[in-house]
């Protein structure tokens, strides 16, 4: 009797866990499926590589380029700064009040809504630093947004590097810097790459902050100092202006493909780096 009840409980629990996992996957499939069925008819060569035409038709190539620009510039700035900050806090700084304050500050940064970053970027980069509505102003704003993500994930992965590696290396008469570059960072690399992947997601997903700092010019940017429109902003605007869900969905498909490609690249690099270790 008791054992039957226990078994039932066990099965119930198992079902619950299974159901939760299933729900997550189901939601993902539903979203991707919805996007695909709504938008796939629009996707062709002209749509992806064509110039935008406000009269309708036309492509999204300028927005793809703008999106790639913002990802590249933000990561080029945020990754080294983020890694250095995390290394400082985890490996160099004496654990104490100062480090706790820095850590609290970075954690608070992750909780701020992106519209606030957008407003800050609009006031500081666009106006005060006279960058104007531009890709560079948006990228710098995005840098601030993803910095805490990179710092956190890098710190977490540095924590997982066994102390015995550090001791083993230092006991062989190496300097701290050598130990960092040859042993600690390579071991932490998978975690650092996870942070970069999360950052890409955050950058691509951002609309409000970019809207306020890069503007909405729907043309091929002539340089990083010109105003431009990313895919996400474009998707938002076409839905809002014309209610064209089909077009917005097609943009969504392209976005998902870009993110998937970037994530796979990051995973590939991570694997390559791990292989290189032996």
């Amino acid at each position: 009797m008791v054992s039957k009840l226990r078994k039932l409980k066990d099965n119930l629990y198992r079902g619950l866990l299974w159901g939760s996992a299933f729900l997550t996957v189901a939601v993902l499939i539903m979203i991707v499926g919805y996007l695909f069925f709504k938008g796939y008819r629009l996707i062709n060569f002209e749509f992806i590589f064509g110039d935008y035409s406000p009269a309708g038709g036309g492509g999204i190539w300028p927005m793809i380029i703008t999106t790639i620009y913002t990802i590249a510039i933000s990561l080029i700035i945020a990754t080294p700064i983020g890694i250095c900050a995390a290394v400082f806090m985890q490996e160099y700084a004496k654990q104490g009040r100062l480090v706790n304050v820095i850590r609290f500050a970075t954690e608070s940064l992750t909780g701020i809504p992106s519209i606030i970053y957008g407003l800050f970027g609009a006031v500081f980069f666009v106006t005060t630093l006279k960058m104007g509505m531009s890709i560079i102003a948006a990228s710098l704003t995005l840098t601030i947004i993803v910095l805490p993500v990179i710092i956190r994930t890098t710190e977490e992965s540095l924590k997982t590097v066994p102390n015995s590696y550090r001791e083993g290396s230092l006991a062989l008469g190496t300097t701290k810097l050598q130990t960092l570059y040859k042993v600690i960072l390579p071991s932490a690399m998978p975690g650092i790459l996870t942070g970069i992947i999360l950052s890409i997601g955050r950058i691509v997903g951002e609309s409000a902050a970019i809207f306020l700092t890069a503007g909405t010019v729907a043309a091929m940017p002539s340089s990083i100092f010109s105003s431009a429109r990313t895919l996400t902003v474009h998707s938002f605007l076409v839905t809002q202006e014309s209610g064209d869900i089909e077009l917005a969905s097609a943009i969504g498909i392209v976005l998902i493909v870009i993110i998937l490609a970037l994530n796979l690249t990051a995973m590939f690099i991570s694997k390559k780096l791990n292989k290189a270790d032996y």
Partner: protein
């Protein structure tokens, strides 16, 4: 000779004339504090060249802490303070700023094998490379000699480019010894090097230690008293941060002069 079932090699008594050997490390009145807490009390002992010196004692008695003062690994811990002096080759290691050079001269093998996630070759070549040796032929030579020195060359020579983490625990520990040897140190510190190993691997490492002492001065921390009796020439018994007794190993194990030493080695506590 046998004490409580423990075999002490009889040849230890005849083979050694330790008092004639040269002093390699001389420790005088060494106190060590972790913050306010004192961990070592006025340690004074001489470690002799080309001998194996064992440090024994119950957990938390300060033997590992003491070992780590000899290559200044305690410097890595915040709040450690040291009084007294440690002379290696008549140079006070706490009066020089060149910790890097000290650690190339005083190698260390840890309790748990801590090979890096690299190939066997890269692990052994790591230290020399960091010293700036780039010549491939020279590195090959160092790697081979070090692995031979650690009696593991035959087992790994076909898979030098494979991950070191694929080796068994005992093999990994011997590669760790090879990695230490690759720096051509004078002194090798071992912190319970066999505590995570099976008996056969332990035996191999112990044989290795015996063979190594002609080239190196070895200081070994061990929990295992039979091991101390088997491999060492001198033994220091630590208790609560003090050296209770330090003498030739066979004397410590046959007629300890302090009651506490006798209680410990006969298994009454610890």
């Amino acid at each position: 000779m046998s004490i409580n079932g423990m075999k002490v090699r009889p040849n230890n008594t005849t083979m050694m004339q330790p008092s004639n050997t040269e002093v390699k490390i001389s420790v005088k009145n060494l106190d060590l504090f972790y913050g306010d807490k004192q961990a070592l009390y006025s340690i004074s002992l001489d470690i002799h060249k080309n001998e194996v010196t064992a440090l024994i004692g119950p957990s938390g008695c300060g033997k590992s802490t003491f070992l780590r003062t000899l290559n200044r690994m305690n410097d890595l811990i915040d709040g450690v303070n040291i009084n007294g002096s440690i002379m290696i080759d008549n140079q006070d290691i706490y009066k020089t700023n060149d910790v890097i050079k000290l650690r190339t001269k005083v190698g260390m093998v840890f309790q748990k094998a801590n090979l890096f996630p690299m190939s066997i070759y890269d692990n052994v070549a790591y230290g020399p490379r960091m010293q700036g040796i780039k010549n491939k032929k020279q590195l090959n030579e160092i790697v081979e000699n070090s692995l031979r020195g650690a009696a593991i060359w035959d087992e790994v020579q076909d898979r030098l480019k494979h991950s070191a983490l694929g080796l068994s625990g005992g093999q990994q520990q011997r590669v760790c010894i090879a990695r230490a040897i690759a720096m051509k140190p004078d002194v090798i510190l071992m912190d319970e090097p066999t505590s995570a190993l099976d008996p056969i691997s332990t035996l191999k490492v112990e044989e290795l230690i015996e063979n190594m002492k002609k080239d190196y001065t070895i200081v070994i921390v061990t929990h295992n008293m039979q091991q101390a009796a088997r491999v060492s020439d001198r033994t220091a018994f630590f208790l609560s941060g003090e050296v209770v007794e330090y003498d030739e190993t066979n004397k410590i194990f046959s007629m300890p002069s302090d009651q506490r030493t006798e209680d410990y080695i006969t298994g009454r506590f610890g």
